[in-house]
Amino acid sequence: MTKKRIWVKVFLNIFAWFIGLIWILPVIGILMTAIRPFDEVINGWWHFKEFTPTFSNFINALNHPTAPLIVGMKNSLIIALPATILPLFIATLAGYGISRYHFPLRKGLIIAVVLTLALPQQMIAVPIFQMMSSLGLVDTYMGLILLHTAWGIPWITFFMRNYFKTMPISIEEAARIDGASDFQIFYRVVLPNIFPAIASASALQFTWVWSDFFLALILIYSPDKLLITQRVPLMRGVYHVDWGLLSAASIMVMIVPILIYLLLQRYYVKGMVGWTIK
C-alpha cells in the first residue's frame, strides 16, 4: 500500500467516525438524561461531576398520574399487532397475484399502487376523519387498525411483488406438475421460502404503526385510549419540564421497534431485495 493510500484510508476512517459520533450523540444524551436524577442533568447531561444511575425516571413514566406509559404501551400493541399482521396477510397475497397472474388492468393496478405510495398522510386527514366519523369508528381501535392496514397494503404489496419477481418460478411450476393447486403452491411452497421478506416487511410496518403519531392524533382522543406516542407530550408539565422523565418515556417508545429489528435482523437484510425494482 502506498503512503498516499494509507492517508486516504486514515482520513476516511476519521470522517466516518465523526459522522457516526454526530449520529449517536443525541441518543447518548437522551440515555444519560433518562438514567440520572433531575438535579444532576439540569445544567446539561454532559456534566459528569456527579453520576447516580437510577431507574426512577422509567418507573415514574410507566406509572405517570395523568398519562401512564404502561397503558399506552398496551394500547399501542393492541393497534400495532393487528395493523401489522392484517396488511401483511392481504398484501402478500396481492403481491403474489400481481407478480404471477395475468389479468386485465394488471399494469394499471401496479401503477395505482405506486401512486398511492406517493400520497402524503396530511392530505387524507380530513376525508379520513369524515369517513371514520360516518362509520362510527372515530375514537375506536378498529378505525385506526383499518386505517393503518389500508395505508400499509400498497407499499407491502409493491415490496412483496418485487420480492416474488426475484424468486425462480420453476419451483412453483415443479409444484404444479407435482399436483399442487394454486393455494397449495402458495402455502406449501412459496410461503415457507419468503420468510426474509415477511420479516422485513413486518419490522417496517410494525415500526411505522408503533411510531405513528399523526394518524392516532386524528382518530384517538379518549385519555384512557391514548397510544404510547400520544402520551409522551402529555408528560410535559405546564411550569416544569422533567427532561429525565421525557427521555425515559422516549426511550421506552423507541425500544420496542429496536427490539423487533434485533429479533428479525437475520432475515431483515436478506428481505431487503424487495426494494429492488425489476
Partner: protein, 380 residues
C-alpha cells in the same frame, strides 16, 4: 402405452411472438426423444406445452391417446426435471421426492417405499435428510430426477437438465440417464441445445430452428443425411465446413470448383446435380472426411485440394487443422501424426463419397438420401 403426439401445434405469445409454427411430432411409447436446437428455437416452449405449463394456441397435444390441451399439468401423468432443478428449498431431499405423492394422497408406507427405491436407483440414499442447499450440483440433479421417478409417470420431460453441470459430470450423468431410460422403460422427451447430448442419448432427434421443426430422425440419419444446411451445421463437432462453389462440367465429368480447388464428383451424384451445372452451390464436408494426404490410402489427385494452414490443434487422438482453401476457412480432423504447422501449405484429401451439396437459395440438401449410415466412409 404412453405415446405423445403433437399435431399442428402452434404457440403465439400474448405479445404476438410466434414461438412454435405448427409442430408435428410422434413420440412412441418408451422412446427417448431429444428436442434439439439453438436457444430461442422453440424447443423449451414445445416441452412446456406438453407439460401443460404453457397454453397451446393451436393444434393438439395428446398423451397416451388422450388430447390434453385442457388438462391440468398434474392430471397429464407427466413429470418434469427443470434446468435449475427447481427443488423445494425448505424441504429435505426425502420431502422433495415425497411431495408429489403426498399431494396425491398416496399412503405413507407406499411413499416411503417408492422414495427409498428411487434413492437407491440414483445412489442418494445417504442424502435423504439433507436440504437442497447442502447438496452439490450433481446431487441436486439426481434429486430432481428422483422426484420425477417416484411419481412413476407415463412421460418424463427433461428441460436442459445437464446444462448447469460441469463437463465431466455431464458426461457421467448422460450415461446414467441413458441407463435409467433403459431400466424404467419410460417415454422421455428431452430438451437440449447440446448436440452431443442429443447424439449420445436419443432414439430420435428433433431439430428445431426459429419455431420450425427441421428434421426428425435417429442420430445416424440426422448426421449422415441432414435435410438442410442448418441441420448439417448444427450436428457434429467441429461443425461441417461450408464452401461456396460451382458445379462445373468437363466432358462427361462433374466437378466442384472454386478458384484453385477442383474436386471430382462421384458418378452416383450426377443425376441430382445435373440441374446445378454452372450454378453456385454450397459444398459441405465434415472435418472427419478431410484427410492429410500423407496419411491417406491411395490418394487420387482428383480429390485433393491445397490449403494454407492457419492453426494446428492437437487433441491427442486426432489433430484439428484450421486451413484456408480457395478463400474459405475450413477445419480438418486429421491423423495426429500430421506434420502440418501453421503457415505451411498442405494437401488435403476430400472423401467425396461423404460430401454434401446444398442449394444456395433454399439451403436444402441436394444429395438427400444418397448417404446411408451403413456405408463405409472410405478414401479413394
Amino acid at each position: 402405452m404412453a405415446e405423445v403426439i403433437l399435431k399442428d401445434v402452434v404457440k403465439v405469445y400474448p405479445n404476438g411472438f410466434k414461438a412454435v409454427h405448427g409442430a408435428n411430432l410422434e413420440v412412441e411409447d418408451k422412446e427417448f426423444v431429444v428436442l434439439l436446437g439453438p436457444s430461442g428455437c422453440g424447443k423449451t416452449t414445445t416441452l412446456r406445452m406438453i407439460a401443460g405449463l404453457e397454453e397451446i394456441t393451436e393444434g393438439t397435444v395428446s398423451i397416451g391417446g388422450r388430447v390434453v390441451n385442457d388438462v391440468e399439468p398434474k392430471d397429464r401423468d407427466i413429470a418434469m426435471v427443470f434446468q435449475n432443478y427447481a427443488l423445494y428449498p425448505h424441504m429435505t431431499v426425502y420431502e422433495n421426492m415425497a411431495f408429489g405423492l403426498k399431494l396425491r394422497k398416496v399412503p405413507k408406507p407406499e411413499i416411503d417405499k417408492r422414495v427409498k427405491e428411487a434413492a437407491n436407483i440414483l445412489g442418494i440414499e445417504g442424502l435423504l435428510d439433507r436440504k437442497p442447499k447442502q447438496l452439490s450440483g450433481g446431487q441436486r440433479q439426481r434429486v430432481a430426477v428422483g422426484r420425477a421417478i417416484v411419481r412413476n409417470p407415463k412421460v418424463f420431460l427433461f428441460d436442459e437438465p445437464l446444462s448447469n453441470l460441469d463437463a465431466k459430470l455431464r458426461t457421467q450423468m448422460r450415461a446414467e440417464l441413458k441407463r435409467l431410460h433403459k431400466n424404467l422403460q419410460a417415454t422421455i422427451i428431452y430438451v437440449t441445445h447440446d448436440q452431443v447430448e442429443a447424439m449420445t442419448m436419443a432414439d430420435k432427434i428433433v431439430i428445431m430452428k426459429d419455431g420450425v421443426i427441421q428434421q426428425i430422425g435417429d442420430p445416424y440419419s440426422v448426421y449422415f443425411e441432414p435435410v438442410n444446411k442448418f441441420v448439417a451445421g448444427f450436428i457434429g463437432t467441429p461443425s461441417m465446413n461450408f464452401i461456396g462453389a460451382k458445379v462445373s462440367k468437363e466432358g462427361e465429368k462433374l466437378w466442384i470448383h472454386k478458384d484453385s480447388m477442383k474436386l471430382l464428383i462421384p458418378e452416383r451424384y450426377y443425376e441430382r446435380l445435373a440441374p446445378y451445372v454452372g450454378k453456385e452451390v454450397v459444398f459441405g464436408v465434415r472435418p472427419e472426411n478431410i484427410y492429410d494426404k500423407m496419411f491417406a490410402v491411395t490418394p487420387s489427385e482428383e480429390f485433393v485440394a491445397e490449403g494454407k494452414v492457419d492453426v494446428v490443434e492437437p487433441l491427442g487422438s486426432e489433430t484439428l487443422i484450421h486451413a484456408t482453401i480457395a478463400g474459405d476457412d475450413i477445419v480438418a480432423k486429421v491423423d495426429p501424426k500430421t506434420r502440418a504447422q501453421a503457415g505451411d501449405t498442405i494437401d488435403l484429401v476430400f472423401d467425396m463419397n461423404m460430401v454434401h451439396v446444398f442449394d444456395k437459395e433454399t439451403e436444402e440438401n441436394v444429395l438427400m438420401g444418397l448417404h446411408s449410415a451403413e456405408e463405409e466412409p472410405k478414401v479413394e
